[in-house]
Symmetry: D2
Subunit: 259 residues, 4 copies
């Protein structure tokens, strides 16, 4: 990855007041609260360099991380938080070449994280029944350069999935209704992750999972706490995210352990 900014790169501009902008470098300008930035002037500078607006206000040029993109992206839906994303990717064991089903795709944040991990030989089948969500997700995925890896399907999943997959990520309001479809579409030993905001949903999902040939059924929640980065007064921030969703994991087997 080049050290220097090139035409069409996405860059993150960080101002002294911690305001940030993520923008693609083209022959255009960006208007900010600190004055105008001529983006083409950034070409050839190194990532990590300082530059200035027309008003002489300094900013730093960073490479946007996926976590930055996710927090800045256009969205209409509740997103899976980075605190949960990383753990879900680990538990789903997403890797190069995997075929993954992502249903419902929402704004595409988790889809992008999966697409990045499967590499050029993998594939994500992204189901979404709402056209407006699908459009946003497609635009986000395109912007981040993963369109080749993602097949979008505007489709209700009540009739099941069209593919066999190594892993399924299920983020819909009534996940318990699709557990049989998931079992059918998972390859043997394939992993499923289901996110549920409420305990009632978890209960219904567990009931379904126990009724099908799944093993290693686990339920987790993550609490991430941030500290003020002040060496002489190190302490957590006053408030934190208390809850996003419970995460339910399981692995498909071809018949019951109890067989």
């Amino acid at each position: 990855m080049s050290e220097f900014i090139k035409q069409d790169d996405r860059v993150l501009l960080l101002f002294e007041d911690d305001t940030t902008f993520i923008v693609q470098v083209q022959d255009n300008i960006l208007g900010t609260h600190k004055g105008v930035v001529e983006l083409k002037n950034l070409i050839g500078k190194a990532y990590g360099d300082r530059a200035e607006t027309k008003n002489g206000e300094p900013f730093l040029i960073l490479r946007p991380r996926l976590v930055d993109e996710i927090f800045k992206m256009k969205r209409k839906t509740q997103i899976v938080y980075p605190k949960d994303m990383g753990y879900i990717l680990m538990m789903l064991d997403i890797k190069e070449g995997d075929v993954v089903i992502d249903a419902g795709v929402g704004s595409g944040a988790m889809c992008a994280a999966i697409a990045r991990m499967i590499g050029p030989d993998g594939k994500v089948f992204a189901y979404e029944r709402r056209e407006d969500f699908k459009k946003i997700a497609e635009a986000n995925i395109a912007k981040w350069g993963f369109s080749e890896r993602v097949v979008f399907k505007l489709k209700d999943i009540k009739d099941g999935f069209d593919e066999k997959a190594n892993a399924i990520f299920l983020d819909v309001p009534d996940p318990w209704n699709y557990i049989p479809h998931c079992h059918k579409s998972l390859l043997g030993s394939g992993n499923i992750a289901i996110v549920c905001p409420t305990t009632n949903q978890v209960q219904l999902v567990l009931k379904e999972l126990h009724g099908h040939a799944f093993v290693d059924i686990e339920v987790w929640e993550s609490l991430l706490r941030q500290y003020k980065p002040v060496p002489d007064r190190l302490r957590p921030f006053d408030r934190m995210v208390a809850h996003t969703a419970f995460m339910v994991f399981a692995r498909k087997v071809n018949d019951f352990k109890e067989g």
Copy 2:
């Protein structure tokens, strides 16, 4: 990835009592508490299938996830937990083609997780000053098939690193001493993650980070809580991991914001 078990695959055998074994399928046998398994007989079966020991005891054949491997691997060191791993990978923004420095490599768990994400075009430079740890890490990395992507260096990092990197993962007892080296070796806008078991270490690391050109300095800790997967009595397990390490993140810039 094939649905069927082939010679040389690594497989996870799950018994009814939740005992597991991870083993490579070759022309050999595995002795278990439930009787002997002739491993070559597994070839051609599908992942997710049942099989039996010579004693007729059933087990399920699963594909080991990286998280399974990590909890089973030979190790002499405290490991980074999957609960933290996923978040660190997100915050370091590890992706295809990245060059990453991993110091000290310990038993190689984090190294493997990074190697998997960088794909065939990326590279991990894995520093470890203790020969016994390096040997274990090399063996683990080889076993998991990532040797091509990892360059091991038996070396103290007090004189710095030999490479420039997109990201650095620092897991040593005195990380504050190497912040200047990290700054020098990071490419502009590159990400660093430092894990510290104690608050005192975090304080010293923060002091150093604030003294160099880093931005987005953040300190986090994660609490993962598991629930008993019983639909009619859904509740957390009685006990949980309370602490592994604080995670400190930052991004290198080429000169100070205050510049």
Copy 3:
């Protein structure tokens, strides 16, 4: 409270290996792993003093706190933990002169904590349907000196309570069945606290509470985390209690807000 140990005092002996004993000072001896202690010899010593066993092994004499008593007491039941006790007492607003119903009393830990707060003019009505539990609780309450304040009732609560109370503490497996009884027995504006190990129980309790004239319905859980008290390596202990029970609180009103 006297600084000096008197006949019949309960004392806590703390040995160098952190072993503790709680015992009443009488004309008897205590056998320990470090040798015999003649208890009457402690009379006249000051709390906080050192003494020695017959073998010359030193120990410290402390006044047992209620939390020490609770962790040492004879019990057959899951107890309410001090982490939750303090919060429940605050939310129930227990104070001098209060009349409190405690159902089921279990081993009597919460009963003791309430009895202590209500003072000599208050009263606890302690319901327990199992005779073996009631006996243990009565013995514990007697030992701690609160018998005058507690009226034990060996009785199923399915037919309700015999008293009107300022506050009710409900710790039974099916609390939702007794919410109408609780409403009837609470004085106007009286507080109720219900402990439930599972989310399913909380759901059923909430449904009942919403069906009666209660306000300020709140559900809480507490996570207490302990740190190793080492100034140069300050960090949490590795493991912690992840869950004891959810705490549900509400306040009775005489008719519905929506009324």
Copy 4:
């Protein structure tokens, strides 16, 4: 405690929009966003009853709990939260007749909670060096009816305390400087609790405690998480208090264990 509202009672008025007012019932009126309340008209009503403003807007009349008073009280300082208060009272083992030192008293919330537990025969010595804080605390304590039990001292504690106490609660910015004074003023086996917002303060306090004759040195923090009380969608609220203060506890002994 009477079921009926009397002249001079403090009452909490709860409106349908969850707005609350705490006020003393006298021959006066209370102006609210829902219209005027003639307070003397409440006399003779029962706690838990409904009443109406002059505009016909309904409200409920509740007895204010101490936790309600604390969240409503006039204050200029960070307060100890009820989540921590209850636990501190348990660990300090505050009980009838105790003599307790409270330094610095701040707005008086903890002082009130202690005063309530010690009963009419106990005493709190409340140290505060800032006159404005002391005035607020005295007014709060008077309002809640505990003036007889609290002796306020406008005084810096750098020269120590004038009393011997069963327990000390220390809530000042530099608590490590007063550990020797605390040791001197505690009766043998007496309990101390120190609240520290930062890890650096905890480290310094621990260093001092280890240098004096204290045992059972413990450091805790509490995380209280609240759930939305909706039976069909039971889940935690999105955000929570992440941190107020670390709590350090210890018990005085008359000479060292190692002695």
